[in-house]
Symmetry: C2
Subunit: 193 residues, 2 copies
């Protein structure tokens, strides 16, 4: 099967509906923290296939500005990757929690900073191939340090970087955590401080 | 436990070693396509905890330039998310495959474009909390259309957008697939065309 023509220029007005329909849930495999769902699905041409995915409660990432140009970062070990990462503060949404409440809670718990000036920026979808995770980016302005309340067993180092320093580190491939790198470049491009 | 002082300004020279040591593999849970690994680990303070994660073979994402200003995109349904997404071409690295070979293969298979001018741009880590996935961004210049070779059951619509159009859609929250959104902003900031 060959595509007879090159693609159109620009997002077409009449995009095809490529929806995959749920037919049945075939398996739910329970790990210690993660659950895998396998569904039998109907493809757009009427044939069948399987999709396996992780259901995720969603998360937030926080751009906490100490001043117009300085952000709060964390240095953390990530076991799945086997190394330390530079990250913006972030955390999972608890059951029934409003995302903004998660953002306020995680920022103070992890870094010791609070703010009276919060705004939603944008949503990211980091793993559309096999998980339904979304991450909401929130901006906290004029943050004040009151002391952290980390969970037992939560180890991280908090420090600050200027926007320019963070952007340069992304350019050099030193900040590769995608929620962090995307958020910094998004703010650099679209957020007027 | 309270942090006595606010964080230092700038990435500290002497960051603490927060490495989590593997103690034993406790469980390997096999889904249809995804495998969950649960390890017992030793935290930096000598106490123990569990980490569960997905091992991922790695992937590539491709910025395929038709001309200096126009990129090839895909419109695809993502079952885990329950909706369509605008994405750059991307795909998983096959066992033993070099990432650049994956990039060339996936670009032609999915979109029908080939190129003689390839370069590596940057690596992303989209899911450091629970998977070891890395995504290598490759740039393909002056791509030529020769016809796609999609897998059976692979449904997608190919189209093109100018860099400015894509960047504006990221600003408006219309492109939220993070590998795509990050790649576009990275190219907009750091890639001199």
């Amino acid at each position: 099967m060959k595509n007879p023509l090159p693609p159109v220029n620009g997002l077409p007005d009449n995009l095809p509906d490529l929806t995959e329909q749920h037919v049945e849930t075939e398996a739910v495999v329970q790990g210690k923290f993660i659950t895998l769902h396998t569904d039998r699905i109907r493809l757009p041409d009427g044939t069948f296939a399987h999709r396996e995915y992780v259901r995720h409660p969603g998360a937030v990432v926080i751009a906490a500005f100490i001043d117009d140009d300085t952000l709060v970062f964390e240095h953390q070990y990530r076991y799945a990757m086997g190394r330390h990462f530079i990250e913006l503060p972030a955390g999972k949404i608890d059951d029934g929690e409003a995302p903004l409440a998660t953002a306020k809670r995680e920022l103070q718990e992890e870094t010791g900073y609070i703010s009276d000036e919060w705004q939603f920026a944008v949503t990211l979808n980091p793993t559309i191939g096999y998980a339904n995770e979304h991450i909401d980016l929130y901006i906290a302005k004029k943050v004040a340090f009151v002391g952290h309340r980390r969970d037992i067993g939560e180890f991280l180092e908090v420090f600050t970087l200027s926007m320019d320093d963070a952007v340069a580190r992304i350019g050099r491939g030193e900040i590769t955590d995608t929620k962090t790198a995307f958020s910094i470049l998004w703010l650099d491009k679209f957020y007027r401080r």
